[in-house]
């Protein structure tokens, strides 16, 4: 008699099943084991406070990875070695994470760590993010780690406390959404343009209740850093998580990293990771197809990440209240072109686009060029490791010589809570992930774009299709 065959499963279902401590019942959600919790200063204080109030200890400090990134200054310390925080509250928040980690035996990658960085940049760099893991953080961009075939998602502070105390999370099983992307990308089109196009296609609520799996030839051809950019913005269409099946690109990235398995354990790990891919007969609850060959360099024109156009397209009509309000806030007119609009600030950074690939792309257009007069450019590497590598390649000098500011790692102007912000009315071309009203400062108008588009716009001082500068080089 033949063995009963396993039902065909998606990548998500395989990772989910491996981590079930207790299955979902009619009355209670599943208890899911969490392999890694990432911690930062903003969403953890109240969680540690709750543990203290209940007299609980952190169950697995060894499965926590802590850093400081959101409230931290990106300017260097002064001559006396003092860091100048934006507010006393920001400093107090960082101090509190120090105290909480010390009390609970959690290693904190603070100022003295050579690996400190934006939590979603340093995790993969350290090899802490690996295929098949469950990873959570009190941060909605945790989906980034799904690029490795991990199930990674953002949680609230109460849940941060749950995981600290029990290493488990209560979850009801989400639906699956397959996004199949096929075809080669045109010149000047990057992963950022692809994900903006995807969000524009399915809408800001289009992924709600779902875990996305990105697949297809376009995704297979992407580097790990490009895949991270894709998965990072899954939350911007409302999805719980975004995932990509691990493959040779993934294994090549992970081999030899600090926390990656070594020796014989490496071969066993890779053999196991190869079994994670979605089975050929498995079905997603929903499937969306995207033709990548038609994607243009993409930008947002409005006040949510679903308000996306190709950079040379005209701004859509104000045929509904949301569009009218967005255009009113953005000081833009329906039917006009966004390309050519004057740019006050360019921000190259954030957990979406602050890795080496992103910095190299930006530098390729800024090399031997100058930032336009009247435009301010901030380049903020995602981590200390990225900063070192960029400086070893001389990218910092390219940025500085062009007239940009080369900062220390952190979240910086993505959410502008550390003091890096723009002024009311400024138009910011930003490689970050959210263009919500006031996100980068009160009254600030954010245009989300790729590092190439951001760099091209820095050079011309106007929203610019990067192909205009790339073609000039040929």
């Amino acid at each position: 008699m033949s063995e009963p065959s396993q039902p065909a499963m998606t990548l998500f279902e395989k990772v989910w099943r491996r981590h079930l401590v207790r299955k979902e019942t009619a009355e209670t959600p599943a208890i899911l084991y969490i392999d890694l919790q990432l911690l930062h200063e903003v969403t953890s204080p109240q969680a540690f406070g709750e543990l203290r109030r209940r007299g609980l200890k952190v169950r697995r400090p060894d499965l926590c990875l802590a850093t400081i990134d959101h409230s931290t200054p990106t300017t260097p310390p002064d001559a006396h070695g003092v860091r100048h925080y934006h507010t006393p509250e920001a400093r107090a928040q960082v101090d509190m994470l120090h105290a909480n980690c010390a009390e609970q035996g959690i290693y904190l990658h603070s100022w003295d760590s050579p690996n400190r960085g934006i939590v979603h940049v340093m995790g993969p760099e350290l090899g802490a993010t690996r295929p098949g893991m469950t990873i959570v953080c009190g941060d909605s961009h945790t989906a980034t780690h799904g690029a490795f075939g991990a199930l990674a998602f953002g949680i609230g502070t109460t849940e941060v406390g749950h995981v600290l105390a029990t290493q488990c999370l209560l979850q009801s099983k989400p639906k699956t959404l397959g996004i199949r992307i096929e075809g080669a990308l045109q010149p000047g089109v990057t992963a950022k343009d692809v994900i903006l196009h995807v969000i524009g296609t399915i809408g800001v609520g289009g992924g709600t209740g779902s875990v996305i799996e990105y697949h297809g030839s376009t995704v297979r051809a992407m580097s790990m850093e490009a895949r991270m950019t894709m998965c990072n913005m899954s939350i911007e269409c409302g999805a719980r998580a975004g995932m990509i099946a691990p493959d040779e690109t993934t294994f090549e990235y992970l081999e030899g990293r600090k926390m990656s398995p070594g020796g014989e354990r490496w071969d066993a790990a890779v053999a196991d990771w190869k079994t994670l891919a979605t089975d050929p007969d498995a079905r997603y609850d929903r499937l969306v197809g995207i033709d990548a060959t038609r994607i243009e360099p993409s930008v947002t024109w409005g006040t949510n990440p679903g308000m996306v156009i190709g950079i040379d397209d005209v701004i859509p009509s104000a045929d509904n209240a949301a569009n009218r309000e967005a255009l009113d806030y953005m000081h833009l007119e329906a039917g006009a072109r966004l390309a050519g609009e004057p740019v006050d600030v360019v921000f190259i950074g954030s957990c979406t686009n602050s890795r080496m690939t992103d910095l190299r792309e930006a530098a390729s257009l800024l090399k031997d060029r100058k930032v336009a007069a009247g435009t301010r450019v901030l380049v903020v590497p995602g981590s200390e490791a990225t900063r070192r590598e960029a400086e070893a390649e001389g990218l910092d000098l390219i940025f500085i010589e062009a007239g940009a500011e080369w900062r220390e790692p952190g979240c910086s102007m993505c959410l502008a809570m550390n003091g890096d912000s723009a002024s009311p009315g400024d138009l910011v071309v930003s490689t970050s992930n959210r263009n919500f009203k006031g996100r980068q400062g009160r009254g600030v108008r954010t245009v989300l774009a790729s590092p190439l588009t951001a760099a091209a716009s820095a050079v011309t001082g106007r929203v610019t299709n990067p192909r205009e500068l790339m073609e000039a080089e040929v």
Binding site: T43, R54, R59, Q93, G154, T157, H162, G238, M417, G443
Partner: protein, 188 residues
Amino acid sequence: MNHSGIVESRTFNLQVDNIDTDQIIPGQFLTTTEREGLGRFCFYSWRFDENGAERADNPLKKYDADQQQVLVAGNNFGCGSSREHAPWALLDFGFKAVISSQFADIFRSNSLKNGLLPVMVEQHVVDFLQANPGHAVQIDIRNNTLTVEGYGEFQFPLDPFSAYCLTRSIDQLDFLLENEAEISRYEQ
């Protein structure tokens, strides 16, 4: 909410879709290490100008926290970041429930853990309430029903576990801790 698990209140309308967590509480206020007292930052940029003075076009100018404990909002409420500061701020501001045709997942989860009720109903119910500001509603979390005076009674989804926790004041962390033996077994 009273002991019977019923919220009876007048509604307050914000006729905007995709109200994100940066609108509910701007990032600049996230340096707090507390969860109390965040109501003063709720919808801050909608209520106050850059000098901290009330805006002439403040959409919450006529909000009455004593009478209006139910917010009626547009589609996809609470999208954006995972900040639990959003439900903390809404609760402290005076809301006990939000009615919308769709909620963002993390916001919904955070709300249920703090006793802010996300009441998801069909668009026509939201449309009726938006057309009738300050309407009387009753939310019954034992039966998962929203009663809209003069319009009807509607079911809304509330997962049984959250209802269990909300009605019995049972804590989700307690539930997890009760499963310690199974967690240890998994870790072997």
